[in-house]
């Protein structure tokens, strides 16, 4: 009954932590964006040639120079950076030279789908890995544990795109249960939520499966470890039922480092999402980011980099807050 009150007390210093993290975030974001521009300056790729595509080989040098001048990409780096920051402060993320539209509309049209994919896959990974890992730990060395570990090692060694293509071959082509790709039926006239959900089953599952081994093995080891902890042994000695000991005592201790793992693993999940988006032809941020990098499209690249940095910083902050809420030894206010 005292849990909510304790929770509130434990999060007492949260406001200060958030403020402190925000202060740190500003220089981190500034450094990230400057790094982006410095890399851009070092890149030998000519954005005008990339923009012209195949026409670059039949386009005269004056023509390309004129386009570069229109974009101001030949200006000195500090000038370009100052211009970009100035626009950013006015809420203008700039013009994407590879997509021919404002960066904000590229993000608006695509970030949602990537977030949906990553978010749902993450939720699935968390639930599945906690359940499976705990069960495996409970019967350590049993057939379920051994099978789970073998599968986890096998999956860990398979490239995401391979799992994706295999899933399409089985579930879309042989069995015909699910669509092979795209966001909606190809002739659909809108984005019906059920249609989208049906199309996301395979990509979400593939992304989740490809990311799960780490989490499953981690939970299994952590729970197995904590099953030998004093307080768990004590609980067992008091004659509490196995289920209560497992979920109430062992898993609870084991979950603490798991939170850190989630926070640090997020970038890898985003990386996997890029590949999954390609295999399942989803219009997410993955493909445009690759295109932006190849096309030296720095406004778009800077924006996606910043967005990713923000997501990672937020995830770390949430991890720390969750840690404080879950572990009585962690105090935010000291």
């Amino acid at each position: 009954m005292t849990a909510p009150a304790t929770g509130r007390r434990r999060l007492a210093g949260a406001g200060a932590v958030v403020r402190r993290r925000l202060l740190v975030a500003v220089p981190v974001l500034a450094a990230t964006s400057m790094g982006m521009f410095a890399l851009g300056a070092a890149s030998p790729i000519d954005p005008a040639q990339q923009y012209a595509g195949a026409a670059a080989f039949t386009t005269s040098e004056e023509n390309l120079a004129q386009i570069r001048a229109n974009w101001g990409v030949d200006d000195p780096l500090p000038v370009q950076y100052a211009r970009w920051i100035g626009n950013l402060l006015r809420g203008d993320l700039g013009w994407s030279t590879s997509r021919h539209e404002p960066v904000t509309s590229v993000l608006a049209a695509r970030a949602g789908w990537t977030l949906l994919l990553v978010g749902t896959a993450l939720a699935l990974v968390l639930v599945a890995s906690v359940l499976l890992g705990t069960l495996a730990a409970y019967r350590r060395g049993g057939w379920f544990d051994r099978a789970l570990r073998s599968v986890a090692y096998a999956v860990q060694s398979m490239p995401v795109f391979w799992i994706g293509l295999a899933a399409i071959a089985v579930f879309a082509l042989s069995l015909g249960w699910l669509p092979a790709g795209g966001l909606t039926d190809i002739t659909a006239t809108g984005t019906d939520p059920f249609d989208v959900a049906r199309h996301l089953v395979l990509p979400v599952t593939v992304l989740a499966i490809s990311q799960a081994p780490w989490f499953v093995l981690f939970v299994r080891d952590a729970v197995a470890e904590s099953l030998r902890d004093d307080h768990v042994l004590a609980a067992r000695a008091r004659g509490l039922p196995g289920r209560v000991v497992l979920f109430g005592h062992a898993l609870r201790t084991a979950l603490l480092p798991f939170l850190t793992l989630v926070g640090t693993h997020l970038p890898e999940l985003v990386g996997g999402a890029v590949l999954v988006e390609t295999v399942f032809s989803l219009p997410g941020l993955g493909a445009v980011t690759v295109e932006a990098a190849l096309g030296a499209d720095f406004p778009l690249l800077a924006a996606t980099t910043l967005a990713t940095t923000v997501v990672v910083l937020t995830a770390n902050l949430l991890t720390d807050l969750a840690y404080a809420a879950a572990d009585p030894r962690v105090r935010l206010d000291d």
Binding site: A3, T120, A123, A287
Partner: protein, 532 residues
């Protein structure tokens, strides 16, 4: 207990928030209630960056959404489109007059008038507009509209194939009033006069087109077309196998899997897109005519077509495709390697085999570097094939895969696998590629090939209005190239498409290199029907 379930609850809240966020940004829902049975679905790898012809969308016509003053028929011959008849050229070749077809409407219902044509071409010429087409319209001095149904182009110099440049789609001037052409909303939601109007475009996913019932060329035979953009070859093949598409462009090896499959057929469409080895004159080895002639004889083009291209290609012997009326059949050689001829040429020129089998002349070994763009697997395989063939006649080729920025500064001295080609007019690419005036200028004639005969022939082909004189000039040009061998032409590519048997009305025509929404096998999709 409350604490224990927290991570799960956080994840659930997160997922819900994400769902809401994604819901807000769903792509534009369409309003069309078309009959799906008669909608055709085609899939391609290449997605246009914009749908504005001024910014390079479908500039050679067949763009489905727009029409040019002229269009091309199944043999790629010019036919009038928005122009009532083919535009007339003045005696000095410097004034071209087009009379507009009457009663043509844009998709928004407004009529097409001469100021729209003027606006389109002026936008291309405007330095503030990021158009790469300006390079193709070098000769255009001005364009005016003396009356609402007449457009007059004034050229800086007589340019025989000018009408070929009039396939560019015409955009409505009023859609751009007060707007920056580079950033106009039109570029993503265009309005044209073509057989289809744009219902929605979700970049990275698909372009939905609905039939334009008021199309001046007659109502399309189907109710609409969906173009799916699937960049990955394997994914496109799998989705074709799952039956999602009526037609898809596929790599030759993937397409061949459909040949034996019930309900599908494969079309191999010839193109004017060639690959060859550019041999720079500045390199002492490739600068020697004997080496170039020997290489030209030593390469096994037939083996490249079968092995590298999976049968989807033809041997190439010059920059004018065999399907062109300007092609000179006399330059075509043997598709297989002629090692004996190659060795004879080298022996006669004093390139004697050294102890290691590599030929040597005046102490210099017959060796050079052959660059190719590392990301292009086709060019890589061609480079390796050339290397193997050259070795058989005692020439050492060192293939080197590089990025374009590493290739560009070395083109004066090192050989390079290049690709070009257009089916429309022999002047288009070859004038800049083989004229001495363009020697050493970027990708135009990077090997600094110089021949007075070639220069004169290319100029005559550009200046002469008489088709017979042009044909003679381009025959001279092709023969001179065959004698000088500034390039070893290897193969013409074929584009391969898989179509469902239920689709009828498909009539492929020779394609240029670029083929995505525009100018693919579905160039005349408005006449296609589907049996359901």
């Amino acid at each position: 207990m409350a604490i224990r379930i927290k991570p799960v609850r956080v994840a659930a809240v997160l997922a819900a928030a994400l769902l809401a966020a994604a819901g807000c940004s769903s792509p534009t829902a369409s309003t069309s209630g078309t009959d799906n049975a008669a909608t055709l679905v085609v899939a391609t790898a290449g997605e246009p960056d914009t749908l504005n012809p001024v910014l390079n969308y479908g500039v050679d016509g067949a763009s489905l959404i727009f029409d040019g003053l002229v269009a091309r028929d199944v043999r790629n011959e010019l036919v009038p489109a928005l122009a009532r008849e083919l535009p007339t050229v003045s005696a000095d070749g410097k004034t071209v007059t087009a009379r507009l077809r009457e009663g043509v409407l844009f998709h928004d219902g407004s009529p097409l008038t001469a100021p729209d044509v003027v606006f389109t071409y002026q936008a291309v010429l405007d330095p503030a507009v990021d158009s790469t087409l300006r390079s193709d319209l070098d000769m255009l001095a001005s364009v005016t509209a003396p009356d609402p149904a007449t457009v007059v182009f004034t050229l800086k110099y007589a340019y025989a194939p000018f009408l070929q440049r009039l396939a560019l789609g015409i955009v409505p001037a009023k859609a751009f009033a007060g707007q920056d052409v580079n950033k106009a909303a039109f570029n993503r939601k265009p309005v044209g006069t073509g057989p289809y109007r744009v219902t929605s475009w979700t970049p990275g996913d698909r372009l939905v087109l609905a039939a334009n019932e008021k199309y001046w060329g007659g109502e399309p035979a189907n109710s609409g077309v969906v173009v799916a953009f699937v960049a990955d070859d394997n994914v496109r093949a799998q989705r074709m196998r799952a039956g999602e598409f009526d037609a898809a462009e596929l790599a030759p090896k993937l397409a061949s899997g459909f040949e034996s499959r019930n309900g599908y057929r494969v079309h191999k469409v010839p193109t004017a897109d060639y690959r060859g080895v550019m041999l720079p004159m500045g390199n002492p080895v490739t600068g020697d005519l004997a080496i170039r002639t020997a290489l030209n004889a030593a390469v096994d083009r037939q083996a490249m077509v079968t092995g590298v291209l999976g049968g989807a290609g033809e041997p190439a012997f010059g920059p004018v495709p065999p399907t062109s009326p300007y092609a000179d059949p006399s330059v075509a050689g043997e598709p297989a390697a002629d090692t004996a001829a190659a060795t004879a040429v080298l022996d006669a020129a004093g390139w004697k085999p050294g102890p290691d089998g590599i030929r040597v002349k005046d102490g210099r070994p017959a060796a050079f570097t052959l660059m190719y763009p590392a990301t292009d697997s086709l060019r890589k395989e061609l480079a390796l094939a050339v290397t193997a063939d050259a070795k058989k006649v005692g020439i050492t080729v060192t293939p080197e895969g590089l990025t374009w920025d590493a290739i560009t500064p070395r083109m004066k001295n090192d050989a390079l696998i290049m690709g070009y080609g257009t089916p429309y007019d022999p002047d288009f690419v070859s004038y800049k590629l083989f004229s001495s005036a363009f020697a050493g200028q970027g990708f135009f004639n990077p090997g600094s090939y110089r021949s007075a005969v070639t220069d004169a022939a290319l100029q005559k082909g550009r200046d002469s209005a008489d088709p017979a004189a042009r044909k003679a000039a381009y025959a001279t040009f092709q023969q001179q190239l065959a004698a000088d061998v500034p390039w070893v032409f290897l193969t013409y590519l074929q584009h391969t498409y898989v179509l469902k048997d239920t689709v009828t009305g498909v009539t492929p025509r020779v394609e240029p290199h670029e083929h995505d929404v525009a100018n693919s096998v579905w160039w005349n999709v408005h006449t296609w029907t589907k049996k359901s």
